[in-house]
């Protein structure tokens, strides 16, 4: 086993009892099993698949934000030499309503079909209208330009406030507001209204000494994964379809494609390639059903499709813009008496914004006796909102944690002390209802308060320090895995959770820990949908929890199977075999796992086990972040001087990957806070669909992000694991906003807090 030393800028804090068990492998930092092939460039990503006879697919996309399709003329494109197939929505079967829960969102497959290829209307700039397969990508592009679409342009609506207003252009004539099992009357863009409520709001606010009420606005932002969507699909004349694609969930691709094509699910096999980032954006299909149609229509040739960056921005799910109103009351001694929030999230062209999750984030860090949270899922002429790392959480926390900072200022209380007085602990009820088991918010607050960063001098003018906490619920879900024991003692592990953040290493470590073998003797592979049992998506921060639990269970089954072999070898009953520290023993007999593996031929034959589990107990994640900024008063530019992220990981299986998740979440959160936004023209067309104009942070924009891992083991998992991937993107926007306030005296309530926007606020304050 190879281990690294703990980097100097990290700290791991074990919290109070129960004490963490002593682990041999868990908590170490072995190198990743897939490292070499990625470093030398041999790993196969979505666009790397090539089959003999491959055709290249391209998509015709709407130039309008909202328009009726009068006619599509493909005759000139079809006549172009080299064009082998053209597809429009007329080639897609009609799909009935079916809600598919992906874990990071639920999607109605009827809408998914309408999003795949527009039927009677285009609903956003970039909406797919038709597609072409040709012998080269250049011919396919030429053919795309030859397809003529006759549009009747309709008024478009981008802002959620406009979309909710009377007389707004309505995207779907048949949409009615869903409100807890009933449908309200009349066409609308409000797809859903939800509410959480408890206590007596009026009484709670009456008890408050200080009430702060503010409205926040956040922009549409994209996940910004480096690898665009890409797939190769081969449909056979016998009805079988094979899909190679970059995805967070091969089984989700299979089910969605089966629904959209109305094809038996068992006829589809999905082979997940390596994935160059997803962050929630690769949970749904865009190209796969189209490529399958084109493959069928081309005479069963493989069809490869890969989006350009502009297509990724324009036609895949970003996360919602939002308008959020928060009112919070507290006593002078720092007790929250009441809180109210209204969250309005842009769903894009089809229902399904993460407003429910945002409503879950906004107050779930705190004990609040009287509260009301209203959420609205509102359609706009934008691409359908996709999941993005703690979907809806960053905007929600931006609002609530900024208001809490202002309350702290008004009552003159240290912001960490205030959060400790109100922060949830085991036995408290969430704002959204259910009771918490053991959680680690308070541990993150205490670790942040102890951290040298919290009391370090800021060291100059125009500088400020911000604090914010964050919650994410995490998900457990269903996972399957199988394993075989090789004669040399190594174990081949087959799993079905695409590895985005280093999960192969974590799975290998969990199995090695369970079996008492070296982690380098576990060989993990991510296999296709025909080669392992069902797995939910890699999303919801579930993989280390859910698939990790399945792998832990797999290890227990391997031990049982190997014990039977040892019993056979030693001619005793299996119950007589004991297993400890990687050694099977009975009386004077003892064999290590590896030694026994070498004798399976004489002990009853090879060993192979599998497991499938509907896991439970995804313990919520909490984090507290500290950030120092410097604001240039002449340009409005914000420089991040120092950042410390403290987070409860339950049990950190591979601390380097936990730290990586924390740093990655912070980096994305800072981008969201300071620069990222979709910019539209008056007609609702996206005008900044490139990384030149949509600015994500680079290494030059960020300091080293310090991390502190707190370990409050999750009682709902055999190893105490909590998901860690999403929580760290929740606090950054609020933490940065609070730091900007303490540097400038300006409360920023709009994201991004970009230089022009902040400069405008600075100039307004000066005047």
């Amino acid at each position: 086993m190879t281990t690294d030393t703990l980097p100097a800028d990290t700290e791991t804090v074990e919290t109070a009892a129960p004490a963490r068990p002593h682990y041999r492998v868990i908590g170490t930092r072995p190198v990743r099993p897939d490292g070499v092939e990625k470093v030398v460039g041999r790993a196969l990503y979505g666009a790397d698949i090539y089959l003999p006879g491959t055709l290249y697919g391209k998509v015709v996309r709407s130039p309008h934000a909202h328009a009726r399709i009068r006619a599509i003329d493909v005759s000139r494109a079809a006549a172009l030499p080299g064009v082998k197939a053209i597809a429009t929505a007329a080639d897609l079967p009609l799909v009935e309503d079916k809600i598919l829960v992906t874990g990071e969102g639920s999607v109605n497959q009827r809408y998914q079909s309408m999003n795949t290829l527009a039927r009677d209307k285009v609903l956003y700039h970039g909406h797919a209208v038709a597609a072409v397969a040709a012998v080269s990508p250049h011919i396919a592009e030429e053919a795309v330009a030859l397809i003529e679409v006759d549009y009747e342009v309709l008024p478009a609506v981008i802002d959620v406030r406009d979309a909710m207003a009377a007389g707004a252009p309505v995207l779907h004539d048949d949409l009615r507001t869903a409100e807890e099992g009933r449908k309200l009357d009349g066409p609308t863009n409000v797809a859903e209204h939800l509410r959480y409520q408890r206590g007596d709001l009026a009484r709670g606010f009456a008890e408050a000494d200080v009430i702060v009420e503010r409205e926040f606005v956040t922009a549409t932002v994209h996940q910004g994964y480096i690898e665009p969507h890409a797939t190769t699909v081969l449909a056979n004349a016998d009805g079988q379809i094979t899909i190679w694609c970059s995805t967070q969930g091969a089984f989700a691709v299979r089910e969605q494609t089966a629904d959209i094509l109305q094809t038996p699910i068992s006829r589809i096999r999905v082979i997940p390639t390596e994935i160059g980032g997803g962050f929630g954006g690769k949970l749904t299909v865009y190209l796969e059903p189209i490529a399958a149609l084109l493959s069928r229509k081309s005479g069963y040739r493989p069809v490869k499709m890969a989006m350009s960056r502009a297509e990724v921005f324009a036609a895949t799910g970003p996360t919602s813009a939002s308008v959020i109103r928060v009112k919070l009351g507290a006593t002078r001694d720092g007790r929250i008496t009441a809180a109210q929030a209204e969250l309005i999230y842009a769903a894009g062209a089809f229902p399904g914004s993460p407003v429910g999750a945002g409503a879950g984030v906004i107050f779930n860090c705190y004990r609040i006796p009287n509260l009301q949270i209203d959420g609205y899922d509102v359609l706009t002429n934008q691409p359908r909102a996709g999941a993005y790392r703690a979907p809806g959480g960053t905007n929600a926390a931006f609002a609530s944690e900024t208001v809490i900072d202002e309350v702290c200022e008004r009552i003159g209380m240290d912001p960490i002390e205030f959060r400790l007085r109100n922060g949830v602990r085991e036995g408290d009820y969430r704002a959204t209802g259910p009771v918490y088991a053991r959680i680690g918010l308070r541990e993150t607050l205490e670790a942040a308060r102890r951290h040298p960063h919290y009391t370090a001098p800021l060291g100059g003018p125009n500088r400020g320090r911000g604090v914010a906490s964050g919650y994410w619920g995490n998900w457990d879900g269903t996972s399957s895995a199988s394993a075989t024991v090789n004669p040399d003692g190594a174990v081949s592990l087959s799993e079905g959770s695409p590895d985005i953040g280093g999960s192969r290493a974590s799975m290998a470590m969990i199995l090695a820990e369970t079996l008492g073998i070296d982690v380098t003797d576990v060989h993990p592979r991510i296999v296709d949908t025909d080669s392992v049992g069902y797995n939910d998506v890699t999303g919801g921060s579930r993989t280390t929890h859910g698939t990790g639990w399945a792998v832990y269970d797999l290890g227990k089954k391997l031990i049982a199977a190997m014990s039977q072999r040892a019993a056979h070898l030693w001619e005793v009953e299996p119950e007589a075999i004991t297993f400890a520290d990687g050694v099977f023993s009975c009386g004077d007999h003892a064999l290590s796992f590896k030694e026994l593996a070498g004798r399976l031929g004489e002990a009853g034959g090879p060993v192979m086990v599998s497991t499938t589990m509907e896991t439970t107990g995804a313990g919520p994640g909490f984090a507290t972040h500290l950030v120092d900024v410097e604001v240039d008063p002449e340009t409005g530019k914000v420089t991040i001087l120092r950042y410390t992220a403290v987070q409860d990981a339950g049990t950190a299986i591979h601390p380097s990957y936990v730290e990586g998740q924390m740093q990655g979440g912070v980096a994305q959160g800072i981008g969201w806070a300071l620069n990222e936004e979709y910019v539209y023209d008056q007609a609702g067309r996206l005008v900044n669909a490139s990384y030149l104009d949509y600015r994500i942070p680079t290494a030059l924009d960020l300091p080293m992000i310090d991390t502190v891992i707190v370990e409050a083991p999750n009682p709902g998992h055999p190893l105490g694991v909590r998901g860690v991937g999403e929580t760290p993107i929740v606090p950054p926007a609020a933490a940065v906003a609070n730091a900007i306030y303490h540097a400038t005296g300006i409360r920023m309530t709009t994201l991004p807090m970009s230089p022009p926007r902040l400069l405008e606020a600075i100039l307004a304050k000066e005047s």
């Binding site: 809600i99 829960v101 874990g103 990071e104 969102g105 639920s106 409100e179 807890e180 099992g181 009933r182 209204h193 939800l194 509410r195 959480y196 409520q197 408890r198 967070q248 997803g278 962050f279 929630g280 954006g281 949970l283 399904g352 914004s353 993460p354 407003v355 429910g356 999750a357 879950g360 009301q372 999941a387 993005y388 790392r389 703690a390 979907p391 809806g392 959480g393 959204t432 209802g433 259910p434 009771v435 918490y436 088991a437 619920g473 998900w475 985005i500 953040g501 998506v537 999303g539 919801g540 921060s541 509907e614 439970t616 107990g617 998740q661 979440g665 709902g716 991937g725 999403e726 993107i729």
Partner: protein, 88 residues
């Protein structure tokens, strides 16, 4: 005794009642009893005899995947919540 937290937007049917206590052994029995006391609730929670898509039953803090069949231990707390839309 089972404790049932009534969703906020269904409290128009319960006269504003936020929490209801009852004896029940399954989620199905909970909904049947709720509907008996407050007619119309079942129609808001169920579609064609099954839990409405997009609705999650949370029992003692854990989302149940067993729907109406889920058995309840005495002292259980039930919430009906929106199935989380909500990836990394």
């Amino acid at each position: 005794m089972i404790t049932v937290w009534v969703p906020a937007l269904l409290r128009d049917l319960t006269g504003g009642q936020e929490v209801i206590h009852m004896q029940a052994e399954t989620v199905r029995q909970v909904i049947e009893q709720l509907d008996a006391r407050y007619p119309g609730i079942a129609a808001r929670l169920l579609v064609e005899g099954r839990l409405r898509p997009g609705l999650a039953v949370v029992i003692n803090g854990e989302v149940s995947r067993q729907g109406l069949r889920r058995r309840l231990a005495p002292g259980s707390e039930i919430h009906f919540l929106p199935a989380l839309s909500g990836g990394a």
